[in-house]
């Protein structure tokens, strides 16, 4: 190593990386950070079940079986005494007293008043979950609804009230532009009971950073944040908004855990307009931040 060679100084980021490497080497050398490993394992594979899963303390029963038996005996005794007293006093005979009639009339009146005019029966479960004026749909396995090919959720007008049960296109208002940083358009949408949305036919997903087109796309229902949820698109193309990168692949998925777009079975990869030479089509290309990584098949394919 010649210190007088004409090496340029490192980029600040690379300098920072070497600084981190030297600091780590000075801290532990070639060994492991056993304390960190133990801590990770205690929170993962060695996590005690009782700690990770909260279970409220079991409360001791207020009444034991013996208490219940005593109370049952007492009730029985009181009931028996009441019967004896009623028999002695002549109550409970076939002729009802005027007072009893009056009570019966009042109860009847109240029932009629509450019922009001006859109305069709409504499923109580549906009413319970619906806020006033809110439209709710019964859960069904799936229901396909057509929409125009240039459909964008942020712009769609509300359709007239649907006469059929099941989700309509209006259900997808959770994807509105106000709430999320992306839009999806497709010829058809399907809801599944697992809470996923299936888009099929000329699918377009527009995001601030990229635009994706696909034959079909399955997406988890977005949460409250503006983050893109997990999705998988088949026979898809991905174009970076600035056009720097473009790729066509058998499948492109977004992994919100690592924040990466993963293209599998890549047919083309254009980098600033230059086709990249790919050795085979089983390549996985991972896009993150401002870069992509060609990830060679690392795991056994038959696993």
């Amino acid at each position: 190593m010649n210190p007088d060679s004409h090496s340029k100084d490192l980029n600040p980021a690379q300098d920072r990386l070497m600084d981190a490497l030297l600091a780590e080497d000075a801290r532990l050398g070639k060994g492991r950070d056993q304390e960190l490993i133990n801590s990770i394992l205690l929170n993962t594979v060695n996590a005690p079940v009782d700690i990770t899963r909260h279970q409220p303390f079991a409360r001791p029963p207020i009444f034991t079986t013996a208490d219940w038996l005593k109370m049952a005996a007492a009730v029985f005794a009181i009931a028996s005494l009441s019967v004896v007293w009623l028999n002695k006093s002549g109550a409970g005979k076939t002729q009802a007293s005027p007072k009893q009639k009056e009570i019966f009339f009042v109860v009847n009146y109240l029932d009629d008043h509450q019922a009001g005019p006859a109305q069709p029966r409504v499923d109580r479960k549906v009413l319970l979950s619906a806020a006033p004026g809110e439209k709710r749909f019964l859960p069904v396995t799936s229901n396909v609804t057509k929409s125009v090919s240039t459909f964008e959720f942020a712009q769609i007008d509300l359709a007239p009230p649907s006469t059929e049960f099941g989700p309509s296109i209006n259900d997808l208002s959770f994807l509105s532009a106000n709430k999320t940083s992306f839009k999806v358009a497709a010829n058809a949408t399907t809801h599944t009971t697992e809470g996923k949305v299936v888009y099929s036919g000329d699918v377009k997903l527009k995001h601030n950073d990229f635009e994706l087109t696909a034959d079909s796309l399955v997406m988890d229902k977005p949460g409250d944040s503006s983050e893109v949820p997990l999705f998988k698109a088949l026979n898809a193309t991905l174009v970076q908004r600035t056009g720097a990168y473009q790729t066509a692949a058998d499948a492109i998925s977004f992994d919100p855990v690592s924040g990466e777009l993963v293209a599998k079975g890549v047919h083309h990869l254009l980098d600033h307009g230059v086709e990249q030479v790919l050795e085979n089509q089983a390549l996985i290309v991972v896009f993150n931040a401002n870069q992509y990584i060609i990830e060679e098949r690392y795991a056994s394919p038959n696993r």
């Binding site: 190593m1 210190p3 090496s7 100084d9 490192l10 980029n11 980021a13 690379q14 920072r16 990386l17 070497m18 600084d19 981190a20 490497l21 030297l22 600091a23 780590e24 080497d25 000075a26 070639k30 492991r32 950070d33 960190l36 490993i37 133990n38 990770i40 394992l41 929170n43 993962t44 594979v45 060695n46 950073d209 990229f210 970076q240 908004r241 720097a244 990168y245 998925s253 992994d255 855990v257 690592s258 924040g259 993963v262 990249q276 996985i284 991972v286 993150n288 931040a289 401002n290 870069q291 992509y292 990584i293 060609i294 990830e295 098949r297 690392y298 795991a299 056994s300 394919p301 696993r303």
Partner: protein
């Protein structure tokens, strides 16, 4: 119990993170390079350790979403990056561009790959390179990193100006980087970028 020891002789590339014992091995295998990565991003060892720990915990919790045909180390590095972004949004004490991130990613992915394929790891390469460093630069590195002296203390103990110490440290890091890259045969690593990352817009 998995106590962090290598319990099988399985090819590291075939380790299945969905198997608890093999997950433990993957933690063993990758945690040091991820610590360097996180420390380069955060510039603080303790925060880097927290981020790496959280990343492995998330990886374990979400392991069923992991695509086994993919590279586990890339996936976990992505989680570390996400965790760092969360931290950086709240603690933006320095400027860090996507270009900086790309450059660091490029090297760390190579180091992880070397480790996973059973070749020499970056710490072994560094050890060899330190031995080849010129005396005056090695002294500066020894004082500053391995003896924990501050710049001023190193300046005093080595009898040179503080500015000269800073320059020597920078020069030493540059030479070490070149040497480590050469030792690890960066051209041949399994994970590669098709072109050197540059200041391309975010995708």
């Amino acid at each position: 119990m998995y106590l962090g020891k290598a319990i099988t002789e399985k090819d590291p590339s075939l380790l299945d993170p969905k198997n608890p014992a093999e997950f433990a091995e993957l933690v063993n295998l990758h945690h040091r390079e991820l610590l360097i990565y996180a420390r380069a991003l955060t510039q603080e060892t303790n925060i880097a350790r927290d981020i790496v720990q959280e990343a492995f915990i998330v990886a374990y919790e979400k392991v069923n979403t992991f695509d086994v045909t993919r590279d586990f180390s890339t996936w976990v590095r992505g989680i570390v990056r996400n965790k760092w972004r969360e931290w950086y949004r709240k603690n933006k004490r320095y400027e860090f561009t996507d270009s900086d991130l790309s450059l660091i990613e490029y090297d760390v992915s190579a180091w992880q790959s070397e480790r996973a394929t059973g070749n020499s790891n970056v710490f072994e390469a560094l050890e060899l390179c330190l031995e080849r460093l010129p005396e005056n630069l090695r002294e500066a590195i020894q004082a500053f990193y391995y003896e924990g002296q501050s710049g001023d203390e190193a300046s005093e103990s080595l009898g040179v100006a503080p500015a000269a110490i800073r320059k020597r440290l920078q020069r030493a890091r540059t030479l070490l980087k070149e040497c480590v890259d050469g030792k690890l045969g960066k051209e041949g690593h399994a994970l590669s970028f098709d072109r050197p990352p540059s200041s391309n817009p975010k995708i």
